[in-house]
């Protein structure tokens, strides 16, 4: 059992969730309530990581994180390190790749609130900020949590993007999914098996949580 890889995956998952939650709240809400030119394009861009092969996403991110790109150069100028093959680069890639998993459930959750209920909040004297905190968040949170759980679980299991952007540097970019692959390559079936079973259990747990929350939404609206 590669605890270092496990811990790294957990850190990556938590970091992704922490970075993604405000983005999902904001973007999901904008896509749910605003109408603007190019909304269809924005929604397609949000969904893009779902459709692209992870190696393709990883390839473009690797280019963007490289020493020759403005982003990679800026990161190196500030930290003195390369963004590609670093934990920070991996985290950034992970946030970008997980956007659809967090944003889409958030958007659906905000959309499921009756427009008149939000309007009733305003007519009852609640400011837009109070409507968000007291009406929208409590009604949308099962969807938000669903998205966050999915993003976390997906981060733990991501392979292609991590391999492309991060390589397999122990303690820096070798996540548990990569570690399993390395074990199999090294004919250590037992080590791979333990880690694989742990990931399986985690995924089942994530699905159980999201399903329970989905039922909660159904009950309240039914």
């Amino acid at each position: 059992m590669d605890w270092e890889a496990f811990l790294l995956s957990a850190e990556l998952g938590l970091g992704t969730v922490v970075g993604l939650t405000p983005l999902a709240l904001w973007l999901g809400r904008v896509l749910a309530y605003r109408s603007f030119r190019g909304k269809g394009v924005a929604e397609a861009l949000v969904a893009l990581p779902l459709l692209l092969p992870p190696t393709v996403v990883g390839f473009y991110l690797l280019l963007a994180f490289g020493r020759d790109s403005p982003l990679g150069a800026a990161f190196e100028a500030v930290t003195g390190r390369l963004l590609a093959f670093s934990f920070e680069g991996l985290l950034l890639a992970s946030i970008l790749v997980n956007i659809p998993f967090a944003v889409q459930p958030a958007q659906r959750a905000f959309e499921s609130i009756e427009p008149s209920v939000r309007e009733a909040g305003a007519v009852s004297g609640l400011s837009p900020w109070q409507v968000f905190l007291r009406i929208e968040l409590p009604l949308a949170w099962p969807g938000l949590v669903t998205g966050i759980v999915l993003a976390f679980a997906h981060t733990i299991g991501e392979f292609g993007v991590v391999l492309m952007v991060g390589g397999s540097i122990p303690g820096e970019t070798r996540t548990v999914a990569i570690a399993i692959y390395d074990r199999v390559q090294a004919f250590d079936d037992r080590g791979a098996g333990i880690m694989a079973a742990t990931l399986l259990a985690l995924s089942v747990l994530a699905l159980a949580v999201t399903n329970t929350l989905a039922r909660r939404i159904g009950r309240r609206h039914g």
Binding site: E119, A120, L126, R220
Partner: protein, 363 residues
């Protein structure tokens, strides 16, 4: 009537055309009546601040909520307005108490609970404060919505087809509730409806809206007689329509005499030439039946006839057809009156006609 509690003027070409102005007096119940798509709900939303019209002005007493000239637009949460939505729009995650307390943000925190409970009691929901909307019946949800709307101490209470989704029995009890409310409310109530029965029951005044314009305005009786307006004609109650000829004008009495198949009828002076052919309508509820010709009445028209048939009308009333010459005159009287007068087919009666409405020139 006193000064206006709410003054509304709205004007825009589209997407929903509006061109109207009206004021509401304190304590008044006014109905916005009209076909769907006339803009009734849009007017309500504009008053609440949920919709911004292209041009116009909305003021509640001194407070200007919207003025296109000075580019003023207060958002809904800064207008003292109570709105009861068509679907009630209760906050599903809050109890009845929570729903009402949420609208008490302008009151000290310590007093909100007691005030919310008092408001719930005022709409007859004692003991249901801890229920969530999903655990309440349609009528109960509506009462919560009313309590929540009142919690803001509104300058105007807006009701958007509030009874549409309820069955008749619940509706009747809520009508009584609204009657009680208006007795203790200082603010005007503006009710949007497409049910003329509701208008007749609840409203002091009707504004008839068609394609964003007020095409008729006045007390319920006067507007009900405006059968030249399609939506009123379709909604109005039973009556008799007669072809009439203008026989003579009596300017010194301010009257015009019409010749009809039922006999001569006097009505307030008409702007029509002698000999002009008209169509008039006599609402059934404006026909009074007597067993002999009474004296000392304000009513001008007394027509002798015989009862042709009796049929049950609205609850407690009887629809009586009276043969007056070749005409069948519809009258609506109470069950009690039928018994007191001993009315049965063949009884001779005098029909006293209170109002004669000219609908349109006869073709």
């Amino acid at each position: 009537m006193g000064e206006a509690a709410l003054a509304v003027r709205l004007r825009q070409e589209g997407p929903i055309p509006l061109d109207l102005a009206f004021t509401l007096a304190p304590g008044e119940v006014a109905a916005l009546f009209g076909p769907s798509g006339a803009g009734k709900t849009t007017v309500l939303r504009a008053i609440a601040g949920l919709f911004r019209a292209k041009a116009g002005r909305i003021a509640a007493g001194e407070a200007v909520w919207f003025c296109s000239e000075s580019d003023t637009f207060l958002p809904p949460h800064r207008r003292a307005v109570g709105l009861v939505f068509q679907d009630y729009a209760l906050f599903p995650h809050m109890t009845a108490l929570g729903n009402v307390a949420a609208a008490l943000g302008h009151r000290p925190t310590a007093r909100r609970r007691a005030e919310a409970l008092a408001l719930l009691a005022a709409v007859g929901l004692e003991g249901l404060a801890d229920r969530r909307p999903a655990e309440l019946s349609g009528g109960q949800r509506q009462r919560v919505a009313i309590a929540r709307a009142l919690a803001r101490d509104p300058a105007v209470l807006l009701l958007d087809e509030p009874f549409a989704a309820l069955d008749r029995a619940v509706r009747l009890s809520l009508y009584a509730e609204v009657e009680r409310l208006r007795a203790r409310l200082a603010c005007p109530i503006l009710l949007v409806t497409h049910d003329f029965d509701e208008v007749a029951r609840l409203a002091d005044r009707v504004l008839v809206l068609e394609a964003g314009r007020i095409v008729a305005e006045g007390d319920v009786g006067a507007v009900a007689a405006r059968t030249d307006i399609a939506v009123i004609a379709a909604a109005a109650e039973p009556g008799t329509v007669l072809d009439a000829t203008v026989a003579e004008h009596l300017p010194e009495r301010g009257l015009t005499r019409l010749d009809t198949p039922a006999g001569p009828l006097l009505c307030p002076v008409l702007d029509a030439a002698i000999g002009a052919r008209l169509r008039v309508r006599i609402p059934a509820r404006d026909v009074i039946l007597a067993d002999r010709l009474p004296e000392g009445l304000s009513v001008h028209n007394a027509l002798r006839g015989t009862v042709a048939s009796l049929a049950p009308g609205a609850p407690g009333t009887v629809a009586v057809s009276v043969a007056v010459g070749p005409v069948m005159l519809a009258a609506q009287v109470t069950q009690d009156a039928v018994e007191r007068l001993g009315l049965s087919p063949g009884s001779p009666v005098v029909a006293l006609v209170k109002s004669v409405a000219v609908t349109r020139p006869a073709r």
